[in-house]
Symmetry: C2
């Protein structure tokens, strides 16, 4: 199978310079703000994005060197297959986050619900569409028990 | 900025051999079934995925050659920035779909809510997690008016 070459569309400027205190998902620390700086040749692509409340960011875990096919997630000390956890130590090291749009200004997209490191290469931005991306009757596998009854586990923020 | 080289984790076997009759999102034709065939070296990564109801697939629009920074989406004859539409004619041609898991069998993931072509290279699989990926108070930009009052527009199925 042929390899695919990705040319980043821009870079994320985030207050998280390393993994200390970073949330496993941005919504667990939802006041922190970051911005994506888009290459000039793509800035027209941001047109109308501000009409959406949320965006999907697809990016590269650029600090991660290895992949683990079976691993322990942050939430529990138990092995799971990498495709049933959200760990960055995965084949191709592709990250995916849903963020809250604050504003678009020229070639910058400002957002909250940040869970990526500073200088993360950005691969794509897609609008989060209620009719496409929101699912009802979701079973969340081994993760479900950790969020039962509305509780938020401590391990949602890295030490 | 450095380029990123992606080595697909597997390939999608889909009944859609070309774009005719394919839905713009899998849920608009939710009985169709497909499977992802994962490379043997990654098959242990599928462990525990079957406990989830939905998976996020990240893949490559391998049949698309060009990118359009401003374009008309399928749903309306009006220009929008590529990052506010879900068109495949985008920088890096990365696709993203939420699919419904039917079963995992050895190195095969069977699913419904299919919107990708046969032989699509698969880049990553992530579990869809209610507490991470489901958002309330969503504004869906220019798309919103097309799905008002529960109606499904005709253009959700390609001709």
């Amino acid at each position: 199978m042929k390899k695919i070459v990705i040319d980043p569309i821009g870079v994320i400027h985030s207050p998280y310079k390393n993994s200390k205190n970073i949330p496993i998902q941005g919504r667990f620390k939802d006041k922190v703000e970051a911005f994506a700086l888009i290459k000039n040749k793509y800035k027209e692509g941001l047109r109308d994005l501000q009409e959406y409340s949320h965006a999907i960011l697809i990016y590269h875990f650029h600090k991660i060197k290895d992949e683990k096919i079976v691993a322990q997630p942050y939430l529990e000390k138990k092995d799971h297959g990498v495709f049933s956890i959200r760990s960055p130590y995965r084949p191709n090291r592709i990250g995916f986050s849903i963020v809250k749009i604050k504003k678009v200004d020229d070639n910058k997209l400002y957002f909250t619900e940040v869970d990526m490191l500073d200088q993360t290469p950005l691969i794509d931005i897609k609008p989060y569409v209620e009719y496409f991306d929101k699912r009802e009757d979701v079973r969340s596998g081994w993760i479900e028990k950790h969020f039962k009854d509305g509780k938020i586990p401590e391990q949602t923020i890295l030490k």
